[in-house]
Subunit: 99 residues, 2 copies
């Protein structure tokens, strides 16, 4: 499915609720879903893990709807086939301290 | 762009680094990007906000690559045009305490 199509589907199903909840509340839900994904990565089976990935993407799309951001355009403008920093594929950026 | 195409692009650009970093380290980066998105939602302009949405999607796709999850399949299996809980469009689930 296209990223845009998925975001539009989230709008049809959830925009009424998302817009009432607003940006801050919807962001808080996204954070909660990311925490659940973190738990599922440690100890759940594949189906549960797939569900958590789906939920994070769904809440990210919901948040984009409330913030009036086109997720497809945003993603493909920044990531156009090469690393946006070093302009290489594969990425050749120096490793950061966190890695 | 298709969700799958975006995930494949992330694999071409970043899989070497992502696989070395592993699941836990890549998850930590996702969390960091979500925090940056939270900041951008409060006080940055539209371009900065688009970049942060792009980064969260990029790290989610990277994490899916490391965890061997097909993000497109996961998302469209759970969200098939109706709310997965109440099976309505728009969603008619009762509001939770957090909303």
């Amino acid at each position: 499915m296209y990223i845009r199509e998925f975001q539009d589907m989230m709008r049809r199903i959830y925009f009424q609720r998302d817009s009432k909840r607003g940006i801050a509340g919807t962001f808080n839900w996204l954070v909660e879903e990311v925490e659940e994904l973190g738990t599922a990565l440690k100890d759940n089976g594949k189906k549960a893990l797939e569900d958590e990935f789906a939920d994070v993407l769904a809440w990210l799309a919901s948040l984009a709807n409330v913030a009036n951001i086109d997720l497809d355009k945003a993603a493909t403008s920044k990531y156009d086939g090469k690393c946006p920093k070093c302009r290489k594929t594969p990425c050749k950026c120096p490793f950061s301290k966190q890695e």
